[in-house]
Amino acid sequence: MIMRPIHFALFVTLALGAAPARAVQPDEVMKNPALEARARALSEELRCLVCQNQSIDDSDAPLARDIRILIRQRIAQGESNETVRAYLVSRYGDFILLKPPFKPETMLLWLSPALVLGAGLAAALFARRRAPRSTPALSAEEEARLAALTGGDTTGG
């Protein structure tokens, strides 16, 4: 209990010292709305490296903020989105891309939906081909039973 004020003091220092990092902040936004839109689109594709599966656009982590600012600086200098992305990949690897690039290592991943769907379709067709085409005709015995049933009581069911 006695710890509490100290903790709170720690909070305040942290809050004042390091800028409270949050998903895109007003001070980050670029003046030119077209460039800002490009920066947003790019940051939605990039992973916050220290979070779990969050894009830097959504992340509160300070590192994500740094990368958001870096992207905006580079875009302001006239670089295209592709160049900025390529630069970040060269620095952090494919790990930073939320959408993995199509290459030999990820081929199986990208093709998996088509493969599974194809296998499923093939299995369905196979099962269909193996199944009898139509209901086999009734045997003489069954015909007799049917006649007995329908002849005896037509209201039963």
């Binding site: 909070f11 959504d58 790990f95």
Partner: protein, 661 residues
């Protein structure tokens, strides 16, 4: 003392579970009715014992008994009572105890309502259910004991993680577990049917209520989780394709496929092998989800390796139940008799397409979730599979499934007429297309997804409603007759219709996001800031103290033109015990849409940096999910499907139960 009683009860429960596994199984093999009957009493005893253990843990949390490690680590004397209770399952040990409690509840339901079932089937199903219980009780007692004591006891607990102190997350795990674990019954019955080598429509009729219960709860659980993420995480995201979310989505997808195929089996005695396969799959994914979330393998492969005890144990359970059941499947499935012929264009055919698309998306989620782990293990290369991958692949598959839904709902069993159905659905098709075109024009070159999803949503909703009307009304029919026809339709039909409409409604909510607006700005007192059709004014900034937190609070007014439409109070909460800050978004619901405001810490001169959103139709996402779950419940209320109805009808020689051969 109470804590020790709980611990002891858990050991006794393990004994009961062992008895439930061995005795009825043996009885079924030697044909001894007395031994088979033991399954029933063992299941009920087990439920009683686990309930005692669970109550003991709840009591420890409620009384803040910090001499119990689990309470000391996950509770705090100042936490409100509801979060003391939800703290029970807000941690690994407690949540596993909840898992086995729900497992025992489902086992007891079979014991109580399964009287009308064939004796051998019931005995085998209870035995399999018992075996699952044995595995998880052993897991809890050996690796995750929630009753461990702490010496000396601390004065104060370390508090429940603040982001878990929320009503949405208090009910999320129980709902989700009711879903996950509910599929265990389906699994047990599938295994029992395979052991016997016989399966029929009566089986489907008995399993279906359990499936619907599990599926409805899983739907609600996922919706509750996503709604929680939406209002808690501070920017209105509600689905991240995070591995933990994927872990809950996979059983849902497999379960949804199962709900559809079991309907085919019940009505038409077809797709037996496939239905059994899906039953095994749905629970396997539930187990996999439990493993992924509980072993820590997701946060990092290394975290898993540093304390592998739990992970390896769950992995062994996983291997036993998944490989065991698939081996049984491979061995026995060829013996199952196929029945119910149908043409490709028929309701059965459409449901097969639905099943293919759902299982493919399920497989895609599985691949996407595990691929990075596998690749890192094999090559050391780290990649990320994130939202853009899943949106592209699963998005396409699931949208296609949505498109098929109204066709499947309208096609006749056995042999359908696609042209006639398309003609019936013309109005819905045209309305959908017009919606999509208008949406695209409105966004003028924005995302393709939003207008497409909006059009599909309208098609699904209208298409379903058209079918309902067509079933009831024919030209020239008197209203009284039409009403009688409407009342004569089975509840399961209305349940399915409601679920499909719910699907459309959720899709509409998702589409609405594409039409939203976002403003990032620093708010000054009294200066309105626009977002979408509304303007938001900051009125007040200050500090407040809650029971176990302090918050930077604000109050803001939402206006449409000059008229005040809502007051909101976004805040930032600081929890001292864990040194964590949470965002309390300011939300105002306006015509199914929401104004959403999240703030950062106010500056010393009273300005507030904020993100303002206008999210049209966003609430429909969860309302649609609720409608889907309600559809499941409605279907459950169908008197033909009540527990045991199948066998009663069979005994009475009624026309409802179709004999197997």
């Amino acid at each position: 003392m109470i804590v020790e009683i709980g611990h002891f009860a858990l050991f006794l429960a393990l004994g009961a579970a062992l008895a439930q596994t061995v005795v009825p199984f043996w009885g079924a093999r030697v044909g001894d009715a007395g031994l088979m009957g033991v399954g029933r009493s063992a299941a009920l005893t087990q439920l009683l014992l686990i309930a005692i253990a669970f109550a003991a843990l709840v009591n420890a949390h409620l009384t803040s008994d910090f001499s119990v490690l689990n309470v000391a680590e996950n509770s705090h004397s100042a936490v409100p009572a509801i979060y003391k209770i939800s703290g029970v399952w807000g941690n690994h040990e407690g949540s596993m105890l909840l898992w086995v409690l729900i497992l025992a509840v489902f086992g007891a339901l079979v014991a109580l309502f399964g009287r009308a079932l064939p004796r051998v089937l019931r005995a085998d199903a209870l035995a399999v259910q018992g075996l699952i219980s044995v595995a998880f009780l052993a897991f809890i007692l050996l690796t995750s004991n929630p009753f461990e004591r702490l010496m000396p006891a601390p004065f104060e607990g370390r508090d429940l993680n603040p982001i878990l102190q929320d009503p949405g997350l208090a009910i999320h795990p129980p709902l989700l577990y009711l879903g996950y674990v509910g599929f265990s019954i389906v699994y047990s019955f599938a295994a029992a049917a395979l052991i016997e080598g016989r399966i029929d429509a009566a089986w489907a009729r008995f399993v279906r209520p359990f499936t619907l219960v599990a599926w409805s709860f899983l739907t609600l659980g996922i919706a509750a989780g996503s709604f929680w993420a939406y209002y808690t995480l501070g920017w209105g995201g509600f689905w991240f394709w995070d591995p933990v979310e994927n872990a809950s989505l996979m059983p849902w997808l497999a379960g949804t496929a199962f709900v559809h195929s079991v309907a085919v089996m019940e009505k038409r005695d077809a797709l037996k092998v496939w239905t059994i396969f899906l039953a095994i799959l749905a629970f396997s994914f539930s187990l996999l989800g439990t493993f992924l979330v509980r072993s820590g393998v997701l946060t990092s492969v290394h975290a898993f390796a540093s304390d592998p005890r739990r992970g390896v144990f769950i992995l062994a359970i996983l291997a036993l139940f998944i490989f065991g059941s698939f081996a049984l499947f491979a061995w026995r499935a060829p013996m199952l008799k196929q029945g119910g012929l149908f043409a490709p264009i028929s309701r059965e055919g459409a449901l097969i397409v639905n099943n293919l698309l759902l299982t493919t998306s399920c497989a895609t989620v599985l691949f996407g979730t595990l691929y990075p782990l596998a690749l890192e293990q094999l090559t050391g290369e780290k990649i990320t599979v994130g939202a853009p991958f899943f949106n592209l692949t699963c998005g396409a598959l699931l949208l296609t499934a949505c498109f098929v839904a109204p066709f499947g709902f309208s096609l006749a069993w056995k042999r359908g007429d696609l042209l006639a159905v398309a003609e019936r659905l013309t109005v819905a098709l045209v309305a959908g297309a017009v919606t999509a075109v208008l949406g695209a024009a409105w966004l003028s070159g924005g995302s393709v997804f939003a207008p497409l999803a909006a059009g599909l949503a309208i098609f699904v909703i209208l298409g379903t409603l058209i079918e309902v009307v067509m079933r009831v009304r024919r030209p020239g029919l008197a209203p009284a007759v039409a009403l009688k026809r409407a009342l004569g339709l089975p509840l399961s039909f209305y349940g399915a219709a409601l679920a499909h409409v719910g699907l459309g409604v959720t899709l509409l909510g998702l589409a609405g996001l594409g039409f939203g607006a976002e403003t990032i700005a620093t708010l000054h007192k009294g200066v309105p800031e626009r977002v979408g059709p509304y303007s938001i004014t900051l009125d007040w900034v200050g500090e407040r103290v809650g029971p176990n937190y302090k918050e930077a609070a604000t109050s803001m007014t939402v206006r449409s033109g000059a008229a005040v439409v809502a007051e909101i109070a976004p805040a930032r909460r600081q929890f001292a015990a864990r040194q964590m800050t949470t965002t309390e978004a300011g939300l105002a619901t306006l015509n199914f849409g929401q104004v959403y405001v999240a703030i950062a810490d106010p500056t010393p001169d009273g300005d507030v940096p904020a993100r303002l959103y206008w999210k049209p139709l966003v609430t429909l996402i969860w309302l649609g999910a609720a409608a889907m779950a309600l559809g499941g419940a409605l279907s459950l209320a169908d008197r033909r499907l009540r527990f045991g109805a199948a066998a009663r009808a069979k005994a009475g020689g009624g026309s409802l139960a179709q004999p197997a051969q």
